[in-house]
Amino acid sequence: MIQNKKTRTTNSILFVILFVVAVVVLYPLFFILNNSFKGKFFISKDPFSLPTGETFSGLSNYVNGLVKTGLLSAIGWSFFITIVSVLLIILFTSMTAYYITRVKTKVTQALYYMFVFSMIVPFQMVMFTMSSLADTFHLKNPIGMCVLYLGFGAGLSVFMFAGFIKSVPIDIEEASMIDGCTPLQNYFKVVFPILKPTAITVAILNAMWIWNDFLLPYLVIGISTKYKTIPVVVQMLVGSNGNKDMGALMAMLVLSIIPIIIFYLTCQKYIIEGVVAGAVKG
């Protein structure tokens, strides 16, 4: 009984500590949200107070920011590039992983090791040559970006799919082949459905990375086209002019974070599982 009471007191204290940590973690997000509703002069003068009366500026920062930056189109392109790239990655890398796991030749072995090798190469190693190659082959557009993301995502994705396919018993495929299925039918009707849990993990890991990626779209698509993604627009808004509109900046930061938080709160279980699986394997 005494023991119980002691545990309860400790747990109450620990709850308070956790609560404080949670407030600290959430504060930066609250900070930009709070300031996005203030007039830009009050942001530097009085950054920590709530917007009231004269400091409250309604949605004018949001309107200002959207007009100046074209963030809406950037949100659109970010969605387009992320979704198409992830679909391409799921489809093609799972097929490749299946092939190189089931057919053992020197070529497939070499391919597998190249995919694994690519995972440890930092982006800076290839950024200059890759963007000039993308220039030569006219990949400086959203579709080209999706092709490049397929190539960059291939390493981790093939690795994860191959790891899972190794554990899938070959008997079921046998049966379907004897029933007269071609390898393609066999793959899409029998194998692919089994890969679903890995496909979700791969989709989440790639979606998070592609959505947030800055350097690849910045170098390949650049800042002078209409295909800018969210991180590129945010960088432009801050990096380009000296006397920046802080109110608009706050509003744009809030708008770029909202889609991620919605995505997180709706698929939280899959995201956390996926990230842990990716960390353990990668």
């Binding site: 997000l29 530097s44 092939y99 690519s118 190469v121 397929l150 995505f263």
Partner: protein, 296 residues
Amino acid sequence: MQLRLQEVFKKGVAGMEKTLKKYFVVFTVPTIIAFAFAFIIPFAQGVYLSFCEFTTVSNAKWVGLKNYILAFSSSQGFTRALLFTVGFTIVCIITINLLAFTLALLLTRKIKGTNIFRTIFFMPNLIGGIVLGYTWQQMINAILYQFETTIVSNAKYGFIGLVVLMNWQMIGYMMIIYIAGLQNVPTDLIEAAKIDGATAWQTLIKVKLPMVMSSVSICMFLTLSNCFKLFDQNKALTNGAPRDKTQMLALNIYDTFYGKTGYEGVGQAKAVMFFIIVAVIGISQLAFTRSKEVEQ
């Protein structure tokens, strides 16, 4: 009979492999083409160009090791960036893992609200580096403004700012991995320790910690490689200011490539050295995990 069946089965497997083999193009070529564009060709070109002087890929002139030697001249800032990166990485590995492990311990005690706390702590990990960097830049500057200074005025502020930002972003992620490890510690083991009269601290050090060593090594390497390769947050928070004193390796390479023309070869040589360091970290991780697996 058993033997016959096995034989038939073996034939079947071989037959399947044979049929599948003809589908090489359908199954692998789309990935291979994209992989070649994004990785294989640029990587090979990159290695070659690190020994060349060039401004575009097509006007390269072989200069041997000149770029590598130039990279270490003090005006290039490569050594300074390396030292800054190593210092930053060490501080981050220690702080992130200590805090993440502590939070994981607290969240495996069945305190109420555990799920909500876990959700909140993990959230920053999903926000991209550029957006995060500017969010923190605004907040740190708002604080420093009260003392009439900014983050770019002193390299110390930049260093601390980067450490705080990285902690804020990665603690939740590492915490999740530690929680997964702690939940796998068998409860009867902890019960047994309690019956033997172990204090909470002894249970932690002698029972729990050895059981989650694989999580510890995963988290160490993840923080190590994420901090060492950091670019977006560095670019957004300080962009190297003041006078490149808070410039990390990845940003140093980027600035060498795109800062002024004529140094592309040096940038590429730095990138190759950066790659080698990162690869050594990666391979030692692999070797380390393998040796752990054998032990178990």
